[in-house]
Amino acid sequence: MCAALSGPTTAAALTGSASLLFSTFMADDTKSLALGLRRRDPEVLDALIEQYQYRLFRYLLYITGNRERAEDFFQETWIRVLERGHQYDGKSKFEAWLFSIARHLVIDWQRQKKAQSLDALTNPEEGAPMEFAGDDPSPLHLFLAQESEATVQASLERLPAIYREVLLLRFQEELGLAEIATVLSAPISTVKSRLYRGLEDLRGLLAGEAA
């Protein structure tokens, strides 16, 4: 099974020709994906955008803390994937490469703003408050977005971005330590220490919120 195209978002999220492509990819491996990216095959890109839209948007939303900004970065990330598709060698997971591109875009943008780190991006004291929720939530969403979710969101907002990011990559995106290290361009030891610290802080924050 194609590792790059498997994951929480399944073929059910795809439609029409994209689902056909997906089933084709299932039989192939990441090498086929790399070939498609090298050729800048629009059908391959369409299918990838559909498949990874939720995960990439969620990641961007949690590291930027702003829906509009996350949306802009989402589009820019895919433009970058198109332009630099030849750099994906097919040896690593596609999502790690994808998140790495997204992260670099955010960092570059942040550097232009002359901030020193990703952390400043979502510092509530420096910018607008974080906007994880949608503008127009459905009644079902409202029903489901109960106290527990709100508590977790609130706790996450209070976590420094560098810890929030690794927690999301590890426990939401299910990336391995080496893959997270690739995304962050950091040593595995750094990833581990951030995970331990982030998990500890999150547990403390959740306990505090619950109390």
Binding site: P42, F74, V81, L144, L156, Y196, L202
Partner: protein, 161 residues
Amino acid sequence: MTQELHARAEQLIAQERVEGISTADQIWLQQHLAECASCAARAGATEQAIRSLRGLSVALPPALASRTQFRVRMRAQQLRGEPRWRLVWAACGVSWAFGAATAPYVWRGLEWAGNRMGVPNIIWELGFGLWWALPAAVVAVILLMENAGRRSEADWKRQQN
């Protein structure tokens, strides 16, 4: 139970989630958790934190994928155009360089051929002029083809809109 045992359990609880632990450590941890209520509560809180994290959902902006797909296709069209232009300019440069380098020989060659065939000077001189105009003619043809391509691209954009 000593403080060291609790500290070890604490470390293993996090380590199990972050990077995994050995079977022996798993067995030891399970035994410890069965006997220690505070460590069991800590393990439960850690598990709950991770479960909560996994349960978070975000709402996607409407038509995010289709809007992005459209932008990506537009950019792909642009990118397909860029190498052609590089090629045109490269061909132009090579052509002019070759023309300049061979001009004296072409001039003498045409002069010799003209005299040999007895044609008026103006004819072989025009031939020489054509030799110099050839690269420009090639570029003109490429530009015409490029314009045709842009027209079809504009049609495609109108269809998308």
